[in-house]
């Protein structure tokens, strides 16, 4: 753990609005499984400013969910080991005591899960599911909490919220349920909202409604959002920055515009090219990525993407590429020996700093 932890623990800087909201440094999350140790998040570093939206994209199994749950400190303690540091408003999350985490959960960091049917308690009325955290983290009494719950339901676009607040989850449609989980997440005005595939499985029209809702709520509340998804379309127009994950690593990170305009990682490009687009004529041949992601228990040496990469060279198979910055744009990071346009002259940085 880094030195600054001890300093900030003594002086919680909740009022300090300068500096990043969240700093992740060299985070490594490992599960022990019957087959061996599985490193699901492998040396991830990132920063998130207040009110910023970060998209995390990647294929299934790339570690998006594990990363977002690590940030929230939500992973089971047994069979999980973590190293590195996660500072949220100066509080260290890695190995934090339960009491510290409980103060943060719901109140400062909240989460929207993929499947509202399993994240909502089926036998408890919506009202109580929203007011629970309000009563826990604020001094509101029952009536105030209920009024807040109704107003929250109104804000997330549920018609006739005063009646709906008495409903059970099964009485609502999928889209409505996801709105309810958003209302629950927003109850205590968190500084950071983690949305893990919030629209996967919803219809396009409902997906657009939910994404619009998240954007407008975020702007209103100046809340930071981490939007986890496997769909590049979802993050393209609704994020400030995007981090692309592959096999537990962040392989490319840049502002959204920069990423789409001049991506450096062959993986990002491959992901984009294999996505069918509505603007392409029908029967456009997709460029599929052959093979599949590596086994995280026995990761390959060198670049994890090398076996599937069209640009791979001998060097890629031997030596893992470090994260480096693009010369034209210091906020554009990528980990590749043969980047697409940026050329080979990037400054090499690693999780520990400049080399």
């Amino acid at each position: 753990m880094s030195n600054d932890t001890t300093a900030t623990d003594a002086f919680p800087q909740a009022e300090d609005l300068s500096g990043p909201l969240l700093t992740v440094k060299d985070l490594r999350t490992t599960f022990s499984t019957p087959r061996g140790d599985l490193t699901a998040v492998d040396g991830v570093s990132l920063e998130l400013g207040r009110g910023e939206t970060l998209g995390i994209v990647g294929e299934s199994g790339s570690g998006k969910t594990v990363l977002s749950r690590s940030i929230m400190g939500l992973l089971p303690r047994s069979k999980t080991t973590q190293s590195g540091s996660i500072l949220f408003e100066g509080t260290e999350i890695v190995d934090a005591p339960d009491a510290t985490l409980r103060d943060i959960w719901g109140a400062k960091i909240a989460m929207v899960f993929q499947d509202p049917m399993t994240s909502l308690n089926p036998v408890v009325r919506i009202e109580r599911q929203i007011t629970e955290s309000l009563r826990l983290h604020t001094t509101m009494d029952k009536a105030e909490a209920k009024a807040t719950a109704i107003s929250l339901l109104g804000q997330v676009g549920i018609p006739s919220p005063a009646e709906r607040v008495r409903a059970y989850p099964f009485q609502l449609s999928g889209g409505m349920r996801q709105r309810v989980t958003i209302a629950i997440a927003l109850a205590c005005s968190p500084r950071l909202l983690l949305a893990d595939e919030p629209t996967t499985g919803l219809d396009v029209t409902v997906q657009a409604q939910i994404l619009d809702l998240l954007s407008s709520l975020q702007a209103e509340r100046h809340m930071a959002v981490i939007l986890v998804t496997h769909d590049l379309g979802v993050v393209a127009t609704r994020t400030d920055r995007i981090a692309v994950m592959y096999a537990g690593h962040i392989v490319e990170m840049a502002s959204t515009r920069r990423l789409f305009a001049s991506m450096a990682m062959p993986y990002t490009q491959a992901l984009l090219k294999s996505t069918p687009r509505i603007s392409d004529p029908s029967h456009t041949r997709l460029t599929a990525i052959d093979g599949r992601p590596p086994d995280l228990i026995n990761p390959p040496t060198g670049c994890a993407f090398a076996p599937r990469c069209d640009y791979a060279t001998e060097q890629c198979r031997i030596e893992a590429p470090p994260l480096r910055t693009a010369p034209e744009d210091p906020t554009h990071l990528f980990a590749c020996w043969n980047p697409l346009q940026t050329g080979h002259a990037g400054t090499v940085t690693t999780a520990k700093g400049e080399l």
Partner: protein, 322 residues
């Protein structure tokens, strides 16, 4: 694929209703379309609009309440049990969940050979040869894959096994119900390419059901848009996506997110969700959410009519081309 030729698959006024307690749900409320030989017809619409039910009724896994389904002019509806069993080999279905559509306790080679065993079309060495050919056709190594169980395969590979099983009897029509919805984009692209290749190789005719409009556009020659048990619009895919005439198609297309930050974030004209099929709106079923709805829409059901060659719309006020 010419419009003059006789269609391979004809669906005429298909109705499927379910009893839910004392109420009746018309999941499919009278739809008609033709699919020509070698063509891919895409079927899109929101969840619950009756896409799967349509597909299942065509294969007659779901019993149609009324209406007709014919393959090569031969009626499937009204066939007896054993006749139907035989007819089923010419029309096959692939399902959404790659894992649940394979029997977890049987070996891959037996799963693929199942139709051959049922119909005793091939035995012994011939059967094994066919299985090998099919597994190779879908991009699996028969020596490695054949002896294994489905749980040892990834989702995409399971979907390949399903395809092999569906093709083993050389069917004419293949109904794909959300066959790539559960897959990662990279795998999805592999499977979509595979489908295109196999279609060319075996001369397949496809009904491709999906809720992802970009996927449907990619594989389809024509696309049918469904809303609450009815068809709204049927047109060649490039036409439909370029010049949608039905307000629902327009709303659906505007909600699609594209991987391109220069395209402004969508602003959906559509609010709310589809009404319950138990109590559908009178007249046009879309009128409760339609920005163009007028009085006539509540009283008169819009029929599917041709507004341009091969472009049909069921709307009283469609957007016509200039």
């Amino acid at each position: 694929m010419s419009a003059e030729s006789t269609p391979l698959l004809t669906v005429n006024d298909l109705v499927v209703s379910f009893k839910k307690g004392r109420q009746v749900v018309q999941a499919v409320a009278g739809i008609s379309f033709d699919v020509f030989e070698g063509e891919t017809l895409g079927l899109v619409g929101e969840s619950g609009c009756g896409k799967s039910t349509t597909g299942r009724a065509i294969v007659r896994i779901e019993e149609p309440t009324s209406g007709e389904v014919a393959v090569e002019g031969r009626q499937l509806t009204g066939l007896g049990r054993s006749e139907l069993r035989k007819a089923r080999t010419s029309i096959q279905m692939i399902f959404q969940d790659p894992v649940s559509s394979l029997n977890p306790r049987r070996r891959v080679k037996d799963i693929v050979a199942e139709p051959l065993d049922i119909w005793k079309t091939a035995e012994g060495a011939e059967r094994d040869a066919i299985v090998r050919e099919m597994l190779e056709a879908v991009g699996l190594d028969p020596d490695v894959a054949g002896e294994r169980f489905p749980r040892e395969f990834s989702g995409g590979q399971c979907q390949r096994i399903s395809i092999a099983r569906a093709l083993v009897m050389k069917p004419k029509v293949l109904i794909c119900d959300e066959m790539v919805s559960a897959l990662d984009v990279s795998v999805q692209a592999q499977i979509l390419n595979l489908v295109e290749d196999l279609k060319a190789k075996y001369g397949l005719t496809l009904v491709f059901i999906a809720h992802d409009l970009a996927v449907v556009k990619n594989v389809s020659d024509r696309v049918a848009v469904m809303y609450l048990g009815r068809l709204c619009e049927v047109a060649p895919s490039d036409d439909l996506y370029a010049l949608p005439a039905h307000p629902y198609t327009q709303a659906l297309l505007s909600a699609v997110v594209e991987p391109d930050p220069e395209k402004a974030a969508s602003h959906v004209a559509l609010t709310g969700e589809p009404p319950s099929p138990i109590n559908p709106p009178s007249g046009c079923r879309f009128r409760t959410r339609c920005p163009k709805a007028e009085e006539r829409c509540a009283t008169e059901v819009p029929e599917l009519r041709e507004i341009a060659p091969r472009h049909q719309v069921a709307c009283h006020f469609p957007t016509l081309r200039a």
